[in-house]
Symmetry: C2
Subunit: 539 residues, 2 copies
């Protein structure tokens, strides 16, 4: 194996968010975007501000000879100037153009900051739940991520932080509003944090840099003020992105702003520009730098705000929160960002992974809290169409549906070992395994990774998106339930409509009625395929 061992481990592990995102893209390509409820990634669907497109067209049309040329590593002077002016005004920190490095989004910004600061073995301390990329970024540059839990309400636990800071801590990183909790840290807390970092820095004999990761600064609800970490402490660097506030995540544009009071200021600024170069960013994309300079310039001149309509996100938050509360989920209402971070329902005794795979079988893609250092929770990125939120709510509630159908022990049943051929008890639903019937084959709508003993293993398919022969009399462990009058599955599937098929028709027809889009396919015959099985409890 010639691949770096560390990278091999990453490949084997993968990023849950990205996996879900890419799985979502795959499913949407296969079945249509309206059939998949993808809450996995913060890929904003709110449009950029109104003046955005005109500005972009104008800039491209202008025939400026250097529009697509290399820029200084630290960025286009006009962009740095505009960014500094706006930041100074908003955060009351006298940042100048020279304190700004324009970056390839916040991820690019964090990489150059960590590269500039970390010696091998230096520690980065983050507050859990935290954005799971911090660990990778620290590791990229020889650092080690340590975490300290927040309080139960996701506020900063300063006592715990004081204990967790070590002589090896070079960076303390926070994000406010927080991803994934939506918590905004109040000004008093940040002031106390600043004092703590200052005291600990003196104690350890070196500066601890506060890195404020703030891509959600503008996404704050109910008129909330997002206090400035930069204003609370001199050795501080704000890193952010226009991905969310301008809905441009794919364009990779953001910045790092160094507090003018930071130690080693000139070295730090020089190191950030060099890191931008040698890590391969070279400069943040030039067209977008021109655009940012233009849009912020308009805002500073009293024109259109360079920000999306946050009210749209607030409506989505409220809609999702209402639905989840009705379904019995427990969660804190987000003050900002666009994530909801509910507890995983404890009933049923299932693991986090089982719960999420259950949602996945409802075509609902979310991310486990464990990836954010918070097992027992999961993250819903609600920066999606309202129709996705509304469409998903029955699925979020399907736990309830299933329990109503089968009684409270259904999840225990699901976890029970299947003893093939050994029939005990009644047949139970093994999965909400919904497929579309095409001709005489079933095309599965999602992967069906079963564990040993899961009934799904008994269906005659072995991979993703394969056509699966059905109606085969050798496969009595499947049945098909007709859901519409559009046609039938053909003479050779008469058995599908038999006694077994009538086992649960009413409940399933109810489900189909509530989610009509789910079963619309281009073909003449449409069924829900339900795997079922016979099981024996092992205790």
């Amino acid at each position: 194996m010639a691949i770096a061992k560390k990278m091999r481990k990453f490949v084997d592990g993968g990023s849950m968010i990205r996996k879900m995102f890419e799985e979502g893209a795959r499913l949407k390509a296969l079945y249509g975007a309206d059939k998949v409820f993808d809450f996995s990634i913060g890929n904003p669907n709110v449009p950029p501000p109104e003046n955005f497109k005109k500005a972009l067209l104008d800039i491209v049309s202008e025939d400026s000879p250097n529009l697509h040329a290399y820029l200084p590593n630290a960025g286009l002077p006009a962009a740095r100037q505009a960014i500094a002016a706006r930041l100074s005004r908003e955060q009351k920190v006298p940042v100048e153009a020279k304190h700004i490095v324009v970056t390839c989004g916040a991820a690019g910004g964090l990489n150059i900051v960590f590269k500039a600061l970390l010696e091998p073995g230096d520690e980065v301390l983050a507050v859990a739940p935290y954005f799971l990329e911090y660990g990778f970024i620290a590791d990229n540059h020889g650092g080690v991520l340590k975490t300290v839990p927040s309080k139960a309400d996701f506020s900063l636990d300063l006592e715990a932080i004081a204990k967790a800071l070590s002589p090896r801590t070079k960076i303390f990183i926070i994000d406010t509003p927080n991803n994934p909790t939506g918590r905004i840290y109040p000004e008093e807390t940040l002031a106390a944090l600043g004092a703590l970092l200052s005291r600990k820095g003196d104690e350890f004999g070196h500066a601890i840099y506060l890195v404020s990761d703030e891509p959600y600064r503008k996404i704050a609800y109910d008129g909330a003020n997002v206090a400035s970490p930069l204003a609370s402490y001199g050795n501080s660097i704000a890193v952010t992105s226009y991905s969310k506030e301008l809905s441009l995540p794919g364009e990779r544009i953001g910045f790092a702003a160094v507090n003018p009071k930071a130690e080693d200021l000139d070295y730090l600024l020089g190191a950030l520009a060099i890191a931008n170069r040698i890590l391969g960013f070279v400069n943040a994309p030039s067209l977008m730098q021109h655009l940012i300079a233009h849009l912020i310039g308009e805002e500073l001149a009293g024109g259109q705000a360079a920000c999306v309509d946050v009210g749209i996100y607030q409506r989505k938050r409220d809609m999702l929160a209402k639905g989840l509360a009705e379904a019995g989920y427990e969660f804190a209402i987000p003050e900002g960002a666009f994530y909801l971070f509910p507890k995983i329902p404890a009933s049923g005794g299932i693991t986090d992974g089982e719960f999420l795979s259950f949602l996945r079988e409802e075509n609902i893609l979310t991310v486990p809290g464990a990836g954010f250092g918070a097992p027992g929770y999961f993250r819903i990125a609600y920066c999606v169409e309202e129709s996705v939120i509304l469409g998903s709510l029955p699925g979020f509630d399907s736990h309830g549906i299933v329990r109503r159908l089968f009684g409270p022990d259904v999840f225990h049943h699901r976890r029970a070992h299947l003893v093939p051929g050994h029939v005990k008890g009644r047949a139970v639903l093994s999965r909400l395994c919904i497929g579309v019937f095409v001709g005489n084959r079933v095309q599965y709508r999602r992967e069906n990774r079963g564990k040993a003993g899961d009934l799904i293993h008994r269906t005659p398919h072995s991979g993703h998106d394969q056509d699966v022969a059905t109606g085969n009399q050798d496969q009595p462990k499947e049945f098909l339930i007709p859901l519409s009058g559009k046609g039938s599955c053909g003479g050779n599937h008469g058995a599908c409509l038999g006694a077994e098929g009538n086992y649960l028709p009413k409940a399933w027809q109810e489900l189909a009625r509530r989610r009509p889009g789910k079963l619309q396919v281009a073909h003449s015959v449409c069924h829900i395929v339900v795997g079922y099985g016979q099981h024996a409890r092992r205790t």
Copy 2:
């Protein structure tokens, strides 16, 4: 000092190319682009192909909801598809979309490839002269750059390479056409290289990956064919950028293509996508990915080629080569790319740095060969306006001018120690120190970093772009030579026009005649300021 030690060293060292580039930008901002001959960086000035702008406007106008959204880490499927189809056709290697990772330019591509492959201490072997960023990129990911010289004509020296490959060599990197030499490696050489890497890999018991850095593939002259390194060896990865072939260097778009025969193919592809994510690129800029898919699509369908007009570069090459040959420089005619890599004239016994600073005093910015592992050479990036090439030629020849003025030993004079107040020999020109006279102050047009003993140290300024008092009778070591009839330096500078001022007027007036733009300033009085001095030879 809290900044990482390594980064501090980089800040102290800096990149000569980037320093020059940023110095050039500064000078241009101060004095106008037409007064500075900036050959420091490969910032193409040839326009993108004709259909480029329309395509960009069309794509932005289309109102596609996901135009600026996050993309899969490996890239937009349509872009990967188009890139793979074109590469397969051109290089006869059956690359598919899945073998492509769209990257933030070639620098981003090299970073993810090195990140994916290198274990700590692994070696990257490059052929000198080489692109000086390789060392930084290897170091970013725990690797170490080793170099092996090319032959005198800059072709690959396979015997030397065979000796330089070590059991720690994980990557062998080449670029063809080469930056900075313009050399294209022939197919037979690449085949022999592939066989060598294969044999050495067997000997060492692990694959050596051939990384082909090919941003200049399309910039080849006189109909030259650029043979494919990918086709010569299975364990190979091509990394490239559209910076040059589409003139988009600021937009950060390129790709890495993995040979389908490479060992650990799937791991490698997975690792590249993850590296793209965790290094902070996340995805190459999305709008540009849509654009690339469109432009390559047009080309593959038989429409406009997705490439700049290479004939423009060829004309520039020819113009520069003619001028430099006439001035007596020695160099190989570039077969591709847009750099000329002449020898530094050995006459005068000056150091490389002295020669380049001499050019710099002519407002000519170039980069020393030492940065490319080739001392005794310098690089001229001729991707500039033809007027810049033409305007620079007298400056490139000023070595000759100076020698004609002072005889062949002028550089020896310049290096001689100055013994203040101890007058021996005749006064000599210490520098081609050209400034503009504004009111009663001289504003220098460039920095004048002198060494101890340089006469320039005796002029009453101490930094860059400072106003310098002149005409002060306490400063008899300067004199001013009027060059135009536009005015005079005022009564208080009468001495400037005296005997000393007439010391070299004819030669200087000739220089001014040949470079009329150089002295056009907005102010009423305009002089060339020439520092001079009295020196004593030390041997």
